[in-house]
């Protein structure tokens, strides 16, 4: 039997958060979504342009393309979902923690600012935090893993997992694969966010169906770090 979920979107003012919000809003299920938006006053947000080549690739692969000029507030208002703004960019701040603690929800979907890591106090609040990691866990842990997937001649993947204080190490819910982008597709601003949002939508469906933990593989864990621009170019220029 399908479960109606209470979801809290813990979001910075980012393209990723907007992609998540819009894919949740597109979904016609009766899940109840609330927003906790942080750092809005501090962060200037430039809307990335979407070139035709990237749009064409995304559409041909059936991926939902969000309107990144639409604010998080507007997306939530359209669905009549409630939201709160906190004017600190610190995802680990007291204000954010106490707001989460007082919110009734089944899962917290995390879409913070680049490089942000949730610290231990979050994991003592009794909430389940869901994160979309671009890469197959545990063999593609860490940062900028889409580029490493290309260099390792692998498909791109996103793994949805419940976060713990240990980075990229909680229980997996879904590992979804995606086709390698064509040469010239904007990966950082569009492809990355869009495949994560797509995986989020699929993951919410799985959790709603009460079937939410994948069997762990015994594959050797590999950790990657921010890719050097030379390797990034080698990856991008290898695309067809």
């Amino acid at each position: 039997m399908k479960r109606k979920l209470k979801i809290l979107l813990l979001a910075g003012n980012t393209s990723r958060a907007k992609s998540y919000a819009q894919i949740l809003a597109k979904n016609t299920s009766q899940n109840e979504v609330q927003g906790l938006f942080f750092g809005h006053a501090e962060k200037e947000y430039a809307v990335p342009t979407l070139d035709e080549h990237t749009l064409d690739f995304l559409e041909k692969n059936g991926l939902f393309v969000p309107d990144l000029s639409e604010s998080l507030d507007h997306t939530f208002q359209k669905r009549e979902w409630s939201f709160t703004h906190i004017h600190t960019a610190d995802a680990n701040g007291e204000e954010v923690l106490s707001m989460i603690a007082s919110t009734q929800c089944d899962i917290v979907v995390f879409a913070g600012y680049g490089g942000q890591i949730l610290k231990e106090p979050h994991f003592y609040l009794g909430k389940k935090y869901l994160h979309m990691h671009p890469g197959e866990l545990p063999i593609e842990r860490g940062s900028t893993t889409i580029y490493y997937s290309i260099l390792n001649k692998r498909q791109c993947s996103v793994t949805a997992f419940y976060m713990t204080e240990k980075i990229d190490a909680g229980e997996d819910v879904l590992c979804q694969t995606y086709p390698l982008p064509k040469r010239g597709v904007n990966i950082d601003a569009w492809f990355d966010n869009i495949i994560r949002a797509d995986c989020l939508e699929r993951t919410i469906e799985i959790i709603g169906n009460q079937n939410d933990v994948l069997q762990k593989t015994n594959a050797r864990s590999e950790e990657y770090y921010v890719i050097h621009p030379v390797l990034k170019h080698v990856a991008l220029l290898s695309l067809k």
Partner: protein, 178 residues
């Protein structure tokens, strides 16, 4: 180090004290890779011969790196060292068992340690072609390149050898993806 119009902007005379930023790096196509090669070749041309001539490591770290070059490194230890380097973007002259600097005064500007580590990463990659080794090698070489004038003659020759090897690795990687 690189010309004004170069797209290769990943050297900084304040490194390693200041971290070079690699996040969300801009795409520059083939021209970027040409500028990368040119920036490396410019310093290689300054030495009579690019060969690894460092033989007597002087610092605790470089002594360890030298032994790993000769005997092969334990993957777990090398992974931990790479992790520490990626986080700090520094190579310290002496480490404790967890690859943290032994104290807050430990030097991170002894470039012999960087050159030995660069050579170690090259040998490790040749034994086991893991991308983590090349990624750290490129960042390490950017730091040394940023401090080229501070190297002595033997360090320059040895580092030029590392740069040449690094470029060969990149070329071979590109070829394998064609």
């Amino acid at each position: 180090m690189t010309g004004e119009s170069s797209l290769y902007i990943y050297t900084d005379s304040n490194a390693p004290k200041k971290k070079i930023n690699y996040s969300y790096s801009k795409y520059g196509g083939e021209v970027f890779l040409l500028d990368y090669v040119n920036s490396r070749n410019k310093v290689i041309q300054e030495v009579d011969s690019a060969e690894f001539v460092l033989s007597e490591a002087q610092y605790n770290s470089s002594i360890v790196f030298q032994s790993w070059i000769e005997e092969g490194a334990d993957i777990t230890s090398l992974d931990l060292l790479i992790k520490r380097f990626e986080v700090t973007r520094k190579v310290y002259s002496a480490y404790n068992n967890e690859f943290r600097p032994i104290d807050k005064n430990t030097s991170f500007v002894d470039f012999e340690c960087y050159v030995f580590l660069a050579y170690l990463l090259i040998t490790a990659y040749k034994r086991s072609p893991r991308l983590q080794y090349v990624n750290a090698l490129l960042k390490l070489d950017d730091i040394v390149l940023s401090n080229w004038r501070k190297l002595d003659e033997n360090e320059k020759k040895s580092f030029a050898y590392c740069l040449r090897e690094e470029m060969e690795i990149i070329e071979a990687l590109r070829a394998s993806l064609r």
